[in-house]
Symmetry: C2
Subunit: 254 residues, 2 copies
């Protein structure tokens, strides 16, 4: 049977999702724990590879399993094997047609940061420190610019080189920014994202709020695909994969 896991991790101690030779990856820690529990070689296929330092509260991964271990016991049983910074939240049987990567219809990412000249250690484990003076920042500009991203566009100007994709056209369904004191977040839902796309969008929106880019720059980047017009790629520790939606193939909620 095909099993779909919902996974949460704090990425700061990991070299990203994907198993690799010389650094510890989230995939490896999970596969090792599942093999110990299920007494079977496990290969996880995730919805996508998160980069080093990136977090997830709703990463999805599937594997195929023929044993008898009750799936609903996997979350609690894995707690004693997994480290404190990785957890399996849910394990359910899904259609064998569901492929964690290729069947994904929508993904939601959140970018969390704080704007301050001062380091704020209490926030650093989950927020990126963006070292600008908050008093120059106009949140309403950032908020207003979000809507220009919505729709089907060529997002090549919001991507860094690093992965080969057939098309750089993506659909963004929703973007919204929130501000709570010095903490700012951007939540974005789309049918897929190019390499570093969310981190560049976060950088561009904050640059608009700081007046380092004008209000029309997002439309300009979407028209010209000019990466140089966009803002900096913001650091990985602000990024969190929130949810992956499989449409009709999604497991039913109880």
């Amino acid at each position: 049977m095909r099993v779909l896991l919902t996974i949460e991790y704090n990425g700061r101690n990991y070299a990203g999702w994907q198993r690799q030779e010389n650094a510890l990856a989230v995939q490896q820690v999970l596969e090792d724990a599942l093999e110990k529990m299920l007494q079977q070689k496990i290969v996880l296929c995730a919805s996508g590879r998160t980069d080093a330092g990136v977090h997830a509260v709703g990463q999805k991964a599937h594997f195929d399993y023929e044993g008898t271990f009750p799936l609903d016991r996997i979350p609690v049983a894995s707690q004693t094997i997994l480290p404190d910074d990785i957890a399996i939240l849910d394990a359910v049987e899904v259609s064998p047609e569901l492929h964690a990567q290729y069947s994904a219809k929508k993904k939601t990412y959140r970018y969390s940061m704080y704007l301050s000249r001062e380091n704020h250690p209490y926030l650093n484990a989950t927020h990126a420190w963006i070292s600008y003076d908050e008093s120059y920042f106009d949140f309403s500009k950032m908020q207003a610019a979000c809507k220009d991203l919505i729709g089907t566009h060529d997002f090549a100007g919001f991507a860094n080189k690093g992965s080969h994709v057939r098309s750089t056209v993506r659909t963004v369904y929703d973007v919204h920014a929130e501000k709570n004191g010095r903490e700012i977040s951007v939540t974005i839902t789309g049918n897929g994202f190019l390499y570093n796309m969310v981190r560049i969008i976060a950088g561009t929106l904050v640059y608009i709020g700081l007046g380092k880019r004008n209000m029309g720059v997002i439309k300009q980047i979407l028209d010209t695909q000019n990466r140089n017009l966009a803002g900096k790629t913001f650091p990985p520790e602000g990024l969190c994969l929130v949810d992956v939606d499989y449409g009709e193939l999604s497991p039913k909620k109880e």
Copy 2:
């Protein structure tokens, strides 16, 4: 001159505030950084010793300084010397009568936690994991019980043995609880706190919400000083020292 620092730290990698022989303390890291910057032996006196794992966003500490380094440059200049999880937010000259510990008039602590049978790694750096089923939890009971703590009482029933104090009478000015999904926090302001008092209060309030203690238990504990009636001492990683108020001696805000 007497200098008052405002300090933020994430306590998870430290053996608490106080300098000690065999483990790294926040005080030592700060004193070493200040000595390097100010070229003078520095002894910090904090508002109070936070325990191992406890955080602060508004710890205060004073020291005496006779040099010429501009105080307003200390926060930024110290960033390059201090690790990512400790920061000096502010350094100002204060009256020589101000003693960071003895002049404190009010302190505010916040206890942050999440209630879930599942580990939530994204939250663990700043929140305590309280492993109970959220569906049994009645937040309105917890919220209603807060008011019973307010006032001047003998809080001996909310303290663990571990420090010698002349009196166990304290005044609590304000307590309030907040809930956002599975995240719960309790913020408490008082003229001082006994050993583990905030962590035991958090434990007792959550036990009331879970129905493991009745609504009247806080009054009972204040009447009888019976520690056994109170809830568990909740873990240190949920506790954060938010603010210390020196009344008339407080530095003026610009």
